[in-house]
């Protein structure tokens, strides 16, 4: 009797846990379904070609154009600036923490770095708008109040801990045998780190970098606050641009009537955003798995 109760309880618990796991899958599927459905409705009215390769984006105005390139370029520009900041700084931090720092230093620095990731992005946004941009205006000529540079740099600071802690994990799990081998051959610590450990952890570091790019592309609040809201096809980091995420925020906050073409633009843009981050995450996962296999 007791055994049967126990089996029943086990069964119920198992099912309940399965349902919990399934919920997140169903929610994801639901989101994908809505995106596909609304994007389909959008693409019946606007050709894919015009959407992907048009150079003007003014769906809310009298003279409507549906070329998403200005938003894509704005997104890439801000993300590229973020990566220029986050990648070298994150990687060097990781090398220091993994190869040089004493365990005491490591125990302090790592959590402090991770605090950066815990700062709400809205705070970063105002930091970019009210502090970093005015600071940069002191020596960058022609820097507008809203621009890609300030929020890009701040976004880089935000994703720095992501890059450093994932890269550090990768560096740390390089077997000590490789280091010892290098030392035995007379290599210095620097040579060991840069020529042996880093290449050995390369796929893990790449995975971290790609994940960081994906995070930068999807970042919303910082760019919505500090980069401006003008879809503009430019690689000039000094002028206002609009990213895909910022556009979605702008339309969602207004009262564009549901079901109109203007409204569907946010789903089309959302779909594009989803596909790019999805692809990047898959590549990142694949790289990480490959790296695990090597030394497992």
């Amino acid at each position: 009797m007791r055994l049967r109760t126990r089996a029943l309880a086990e069964f119920v618990i198992e099912r309940a846990l399965f349902l919990c796991a399934a919920t997140s899958i169903f929610v994801t599927l639901g989101i994908v379904f809505v995106l596909v459905f609304e994007t389909g409705a959008f693409l019946r009215e606007v050709s894919v070609f015009e959407f992907l390769f048009g150079t003007e984006w003014t769906p809310l105005f009298y003279d409507k154009h549906f070329g998403v390139l200005p938003l894509v370029v704005g997104t890439l520009l801000a993300s590229a600036i973020a990566m220029i900041v986050a990648l070298p700084a994150g990687l060097l931090t990781a090398i220091y923490l993994s190869e040089y720092a004493s365990s005491g230093v490591r125990r302090v620095v790592r959590p402090v770095l991770e605090v950066l990731a815990g700062i709400p992005t809205v705070v970063y946004g105002y930091f970019a708008l009210q502090f970093v941009t005015p600071l940069l205006q002191g020596f960058v000529p022609g820097l507008a109040g809203f621009n890609a540079l300030g929020p890009g740099i701040v976004m880089g600071i935000m994703i720095l801990p992501l890059v450093s802690s994932l890269s550090e994990d990768a560096l740390h799990s390089v077997p000590n045998g490789l280091r010892e081998g290098a030392y035995a051959l007379g290599a210095t610590r620097m040579q060991t780190s840069l020529r042996v450990v880093v290449p050995a952890a390369f796929s893990g570091i790449s995975a971290a970098a790609i994940l960081a790019v994906s995070r930068a592309i999807g970042e919303t609040m910082i760019v919505a606050i500090a980069a401006g809201q003008q879809p503009r096809l430019t690689f000039d980091p000094r002028v206002p641009v609009e990213t895909m995420t910022a556009y979605i925020v702008q339309v969602s906050l207004g009262d564009t009537p549901a079901g109109t073409l203007e409204y569907r633009t946010i789903f089309a843009v959302g779909m594009l955003l989803f596909l790019s981050t999805f692809a990047l995450n898959i590549v990142s996962n694949w790289l990480r798995n490959r790296f695990r296999e090597e030394y497992a």
Binding site: E56, T58, L60, F61, Y62, D63, K64, H65, L129, T133, P134, Q137, A144, G145, F146, G228, Q229, Q230, P231, R232, V239, P240, Q250, L253, G254, D255, T256
Partner: protein, 332 residues
């Protein structure tokens, strides 16, 4: 000229009866109409409710036209309007037997602003503004010297109202000629603070928003005086100020805004009290929410008009809104 960020809520129930105590339950005061007037009426309703805890007021934002439609079908007590009642609306009201009192409550002005280091664009004509903001300008008029030769050969960075704001409708109608027709390649935001931020941070920027926001940020921005080319409204370029917004010489970017009170509804004490509050104790709220208040003389005339229950509109006939001042019109 506050923007209505979450315009999705069509009717905001400002006050829900809070006291279960005695006294005859007051009926709901129903108000609808312009989203431009909404911030004033909403503030009034909130303060009125604070003073009269039993009061129930709903304020909708169907737009001036939508508000008059409901008003003339006898569905609401008060109509918010950012322009005087039109001829066809007057007919509709007459047909339904709806009598109304027209009450100007504030002035609404739009400021065109540039960076405080901008030394060239101290004034612009309506034609120049139109050339800059009309849909045809999109992607073609992008440099200052394309607007007036002699101005810098630098890119002009534009900031303006978002398409969901009343400011956008008003500006495009006054400048381009047709409401909602505008170029689209500018930084558009329903939040006027974003525009202030953008223009004050960029030497080659130009933007527009409600005059009240200029007053709050006057040290960071420079006003552009507007020349409407019509000497009847004052000669040459005129910058907005409480004075020029009130007397209509800051044309065409200033206008009075109104409420229309239904005479039949004024028999209900709560409606009468509310309108009296609107024209009396509530007046300081006008400035608080960002509009230019009427002068004391005008206010006295408006109160007299209400006390005398003078029905009908002051804007009959072909004369435009700005050829005579509101004070002259009220005292006719």
């Amino acid at each position: 000229m506050r923007s209505i960020l979450s315009g999705a809520c069509v009717a905001v129930t400002v006050a829900i009866t809070g006291c279960g105590g005695g006294g005859p339950a007051a009926q709901v005061i129903t108000i609808d109409g312009s989203s431009t007037v909404f911030p004033v009426t909403e503030a009034m309703a909130e303060e009125f409710r604070n003073a009269n805890p039993g009061a129930r007021i709903t304020v909708g934002i169907s737009g001036t036209g939508g508000g008059f439609q409901k008003f003339c079908r006898d569905e609401i007590d008060i109509s918010d309007a950012s322009r005087p009642i039109g001829a066809s609306e007057q007919e509709a009201c007459a047909k339904a037997g709806v009598e109304y009192i027209e009450l100007p409550v504030a002035y609404d002005g739009l400021a065109v602003v540039v960076h405080s280091k901008n030394t060239w664009a101290s004034s612009m004509t309506i034609a120049e503004l139109k050339r800059l903001w009309e849909p045809a300008a999109q992607g073609t008029i992008t440099r200052w010297n394309q607007i007036r030769s002699g101005w810098p050969d630098r890119e002009i960075r534009l900031f303006g109202a978002g398409v969901d704001s009343g400011t956008f409708d008003y500006f495009t109608e006054a400048i381009v000629g047709t409401a909602t027709r505008s170029r689209g390649d500018y930084t558009s935001s329903e939040d006027d603070n974003v525009i202030v931020q953008g223009v004050s941070g960029d030497e080659y920027a130009l933007g527009y928003f409600g005059y009240a926001y200029y007053e709050e940020n006057r040290d960071r921005l420079t006003l552009v005086a507007i020349d409407d080319g019509d000497d009847a409204n004052g000669r040459g370029p005129i910058a907005p100020s409480p004075q020029t917004v009130r007397d209509g010489t800051y044309h065409p970017l200033s206008r009075p805004i109104f409420i229309y009170a239904k005479v039949a509804a004024l028999e209900r004490p709560e409606v009468r009290d509310f309108v009296e509050f609107y024209l009396g104790e509530g007046v300081p709220l006008v400035r608080e929410v960002g509009y230019v208040a009427l002068t004391d003389a005008e206010l006295a005339l408006v109160r007299a008009r209400f006390a005398a229950r003078t029905t009908g509109t002051m804007y009959d006939g072909p004369s435009s809104q700005t050829t005579i001042t509101l004070e002259q019109r009220l005292s006719r």
